[in-house]
């Protein structure tokens, strides 16, 4: 193997039950380069890097470092070989100081460490790369950007020559991102290799020496600096494949079911998560929401189901103003919700299928005064399980033991059986295999044929193209465009997802 490569991944394949996360992926990293790993969510970037850092063992393929074949059993092994990763969710102890966090888990540190010596070392490292951190500060006192720098310093302190940053700018402000990029350039200039996992095109344009694009678990292209444009990247990322069209009869346009007018909402950090959203969904229509995760999808789905209050604006369901109502108000008006987090919100993991199937109806159809209609609930469960093809070992086992596909069937069975006016489906096929995906899609299209309005939030453009009648694109909490699905151009959507509005699009 070529000695010029610092790291070489050859033919990496990693399978999870029902999913091939990586298929025959090759990747090379050179010393001192900034290498971007670009791809949509679920394209296999994180899995690939988890293989490189010893978190997962590949089913097939080999990893070479400095020409030597390695087999990591844990991230510890990887760090020893000089490969370290900074995860999106920081792994720091809030009540410890920066220095204490840096040496945490480092087996070279003596039983009674000399903290002042370690603090000096940390200061040397941080000033060497312009990574401003105070080793004596407590982590709870730090901003997000500072915490990230602590994680980077931690890896440098352990002598890592390859640093992998997982979506490093996802949590940063623009100024912090700029600072981070300067740090990354400095590290590369001093001979370290930095891998940046991202789905933001402009970041790739800004810092990458080389970029490898992953799509559906496969490495589809590698470009060198100067040899690519934003459009090339978008194309490679989204794919040119002709979208598999299912038989979808033309939408029978009915009345507007959901209407949002100039809606604003905060995200969990207390910042604006939705900005001036105006959308309508008609009965018998699927409105697909395209966008890279974290651009307001969660906030949008919560606002239209009553889980998150709107800061401003108006939400109407079937012409009734429901702004300010809670989830119960939305449920009672026929809003069904297939949430992103199946087991954390949509279903009650410790309860059995019978009890889970009455979660939306226990106050209504399944109630007899203060009592529950147990017999009704059981026959309801049997009927739905048959109709929706849910496979169960027993009606009375907690649902947390079911597979992802069956959980989603169970959830859809409940939501659809309430005969909703509107279905809000968030990443409805995430983690499902092909058969389960098809089943879910068929169910949604059946609902569309019956005149239900459907708001489909997905990161998978193919899914959006396949199901939607119209497509709205979200970027940083705002709608950057709404287009009819027929004749829509994947490239154009890809660019809208990256925040370039239609007007600003430049020709190649």
């Amino acid at each position: 193997m070529g000695a010029e490569f610092l790291v070489q991944l050859k033919g990496i394949t990693k399978r999870f039950p029902g999913v091939v996360a990586n298929h025959q992926v090759d990747l090379t990293l050179m010393p001192g380069e900034i290498h971007a790993l670009l791809g949509e969510n679920g394209s296999g970037k994180s899995t690939l890097m988890s293989v490189l850092t010893g978190l997962y063992r590949p089913d097939e393929g080999e990893v070479f470092i400095g020409g030597q074949r390695v087999q990591f059993r844990s991230p510890h092994d990887a760090i020893k070989a000089g490969v370290g990763m900074v995860h999106q969710h920081f792994k720091l102890v809030d009540t410890f100081t920066v220095a204490q966090n840096v040496i945490l888990g480092d087996r070279r540190v003596p039983f009674v460490p000399s903290m002042s010596e370690i603090e000096d070392q940390i200061e040397r490292i941080s000033s060497g790369y312009g990574l401003a951190v105070n080793p004596r500060a407590y982590v709870w006192q730090l901003s997000v950007g500072e915490k990230q720098r602590v994680e980077i310093v931690k890896m440098l302190y352990r002598g890592c020559s390859v640093l992998i940053l997982d979506e490093p700018t996802a949590v940063l402000t623009i100024q912090e991102s700029r600072q981070l990029f300067a740090n990354i350039r400095e590290m590369a200039a001093q001979g370290r290799t930095v891998v940046v996992i991202t789905h933001k095109l402009h970041e790739v344009m800004e810092i990458a020496d080389r970029v490898t694009v992953l799509r559906r678990g496969e490495a589809v292209a590698t470009f060198k600096r100067g040899g690519f444009t934003e459009r090339d990247l978008a194309l490679a990322m989204v794919g040119r494949d002709v979208v598999s069209q299912v038989e979808k009869p033309p939408a029978v346009q009915k009345d507007v079911v959901l209407e949002l007018q100039d809606v604003y909402a905060l995200n969990n950090l207390g910042r604006l998560g939705l900005r001036s959203i105006s959308l309508t969904v008609r009965g018998g229509e699927i409105l697909g929401i395209a966008g890279v995760a974290g651009n307001g999808q969660r906030e949008l789905s919560e606002v239209v189901t009553g889980l998150r209050p709107a800061l401003r604006g108006r939400i109407q369901v079937d012409g009734t103003d429901v702004t300010g109502e809670g989830p119960r108000g939305f449920i009672d008006r026929g809003v069904a919700h297939v949430p992103e987090d199946r087991l954390g919100a949509g279903l009650v993991p410790g309860l059995n299928a019978v009890d889970n199937l009455i979660l939306k109806e226990y106050r209504r159809k399944m109630a007899r005064g203060p009592f529950l209609d147990r017999r009704g609930a059981e026959s309801n469960a049997l009927e739905l399980i048959g109709r929706f093809g849910v496979r169960l070992s027993s009606l009375y086992n907690p649902v947390k033991f079911m597979s992802g596909g069956n959980l989603q069937r169970l959830l859809l069975a409940r939501e659809i059986s309430s005969e909703p006016r509107l279905i809000v489906a968030v990443y409805p096929v995430r983690g499902l295999d092909i058969a389960a995906t098809e089943a879910v899609h068929r169910l949604l299209l059946e609902q569309r044929a019956q005149g239900t309005a459907i708001l489909l939030i997905s990161e998978d453009l193919d899914e959006i193209f396949k199901l939607s009648d119209r497509i709205a694109v979200l970027f940083e909490g705002a709608v950057t465009g709404v287009l009819p699905a027929t004749g829509a151009d994947a490239e154009e959507i890809g660019l809208l997802m990256m925040g370039s509005r239609k007007m600003e699009e430049q020709a190649v």
């Binding site: 063992r57 590949p58 089913d59 080999e62 470092i65 400095g66 030597q68 074949r69 390695v70 087999q71 990591f72 059993r73 092994d77 070989a81 009553g306 889980l307 809670g326 989830p327 119960r328 108000g329 939305f330 449920i331 919700h337 949430p339 987090d341 954390g344 919100a345 949509g346 279903l347 009650v348 993991p349 410790g350 309860l351 009890d355 009455i358 979660l359 939306k360 226990y362 106050r363 109630a367 203060p370 009592f371 529950l372 147990r374 070992s393 027993s394 086992n397 907690p398 033991f401």
Partner: protein, 366 residues
């Protein structure tokens, strides 16, 4: 997950056999631990155990005393189980029991001349109210600010116990009581009826009735359903539009009320007065009972009966020099084994064949 050579494998479904085996085996393991200690201290465990169980369950007197002891355990166990169902860790059963006893005593001492048909219902509701208030105090900060209820309920126990002590050593001390820290004896109207010539009082009926009612509430009502959903998954509860803060308040009030009733039944049915230390930690033992019974109200009745017997047996063998703390040790060991054994419901133990059977390929590390 791997521990040495043993691998824990997640089961596809919780094991129904283990659900029964774990509590049963836990009790035996606890007895084994107790036996080791008895042996170390130079006693023969088997005769002592035989003595304990035959006297607690085998004689007419022992059996009736066992039932008497099981009444507060049963009520307090049912009380804390209500909160546990919603995963609210009410460790304050003891304090709620004391406040129930206090409130009932206040009624008994304030209206000594009333007839039983007026006084007893009044004391019943006072007992419930006293416990409910003590349950609500920690529930309010929990519901609206997320303050950990384990700490607050535990701390309020000491407040309640000291409050009762203050009363019986001070303002409520019986002037004709030779300066003992006791209130005056209750009048006839404030005393719960007993069964025949035994000391078994009507508190047993409270316990049995509440057990059945709770079973129905948990398994057959909308509210019981909400409690189970909130307990298992607050996210799903919000998703379904359930009001979580309000349910926290209601559940803690009900939990406290039942524990308070345990206190009322003790003073009205057994002590016939308020005195310090009338509960040897029933509110804490109740936690073990509720857990051992897997929060099933009907099982709580049974487990409370067994624990009542354990206490009675413990008192009886004290006369032969076995320390009274033996019983506390057995109870603690039972809980220890139950909590540890619960993992077997969800996982299966496997001996690992080789230390590295999972690794693919053959190469070596760098």
């Amino acid at each position: 997950m791997k521990i040495g050579l043993i691998t824990l494998e997640k089961r596809a479904a919780p094991s129904p056999i283990m659900a029964v085996m774990v509590p049963v085996v836990s009790v035996f393991m606890a007895l084994l631990v107790g036996a080791i200690f008895l042996k170390i201290t130079g006693r023969e465990p088997l005769p002592i155990y035989f003595e304990m169980f035959s006297r607690a369950f085998g004689t007419r007197y022992g059996l009736s005393e066992t039932i008497v002891k099981s009444i507060p355990l049963m009520l307090a166990g049912l009380g804390v189980a209500v909160a546990f169902r919603m995963q609210l860790w009410n460790i304050g059963g003891e304090g709620q029991l004391f406040m129930g006893a206090f409130a009932a005593t206040w009624v008994a001492l304030s209206f000594p001349d009333q007839a039983a048909y007026l006084l007893l219902p009044l004391m019943f509701f006072a007992g419930c109210a006293g416990g409910a208030v003590w349950g609500l105090l920690p529930a309010i900060p929990r519901a609206y600010m997320g303050v950990n209820e384990i700490i607050t309920t535990l701390m309020l126990n000491y407040v309640a116990i000291l409050w009762v002590e203050y009363l019986v050593y001070g303002p409520w001390k019986d002037p004709h009581g030779y300066n003992f820290p006791l209130t005056a004896k209750f009048t006839a109207g404030a005393i719960l009826p007993t069964m025949g010539d035994s000391r078994i009082h009507a508190g047993l009926l409270f316990g049995l009735t509440i057990a059945v009612v709770l079973w129905v509430v948990f398994n057959r009502t909308k509210w019981g359903y909400e409690v189970r959903v909130i307990g298992d998954s607050p996210g799903a509860a919000r998703f379904a539009g359930m009001n979580i803060p309000r349910n926290i308040l209601v559940v803690m009030a009900v939990s406290g009320a039942i524990c308070g009733l345990a206190g009322m039944a003790e003073v009205s049915g057994l002590m016939h007065r308020l005195q310090p230390g009338f509960s040897p930690g029933y509110g804490y033992t109740a936690i073990i009972i509720a857990w051992l019974a897997k929060l099933n109200p009907l099982a709580i009745v049974l487990v409370a009966f067994l624990f009542g017997g354990l206490q009675v047996g413990g008192y009886i063998v004290q006369t032969t020099g076995v320390p009274a703390t033996m019983v506390a040790m057995l109870q603690g060991s039972v809980l220890f084994f139950i909590l540890g054994g619960d993992i077997l419901l969800r996982y299966r133990l496997r001996w690992r064949r080789s230390p590295d059977s999972g690794a693919p390929g053959k190469g070596v590390g760098a």
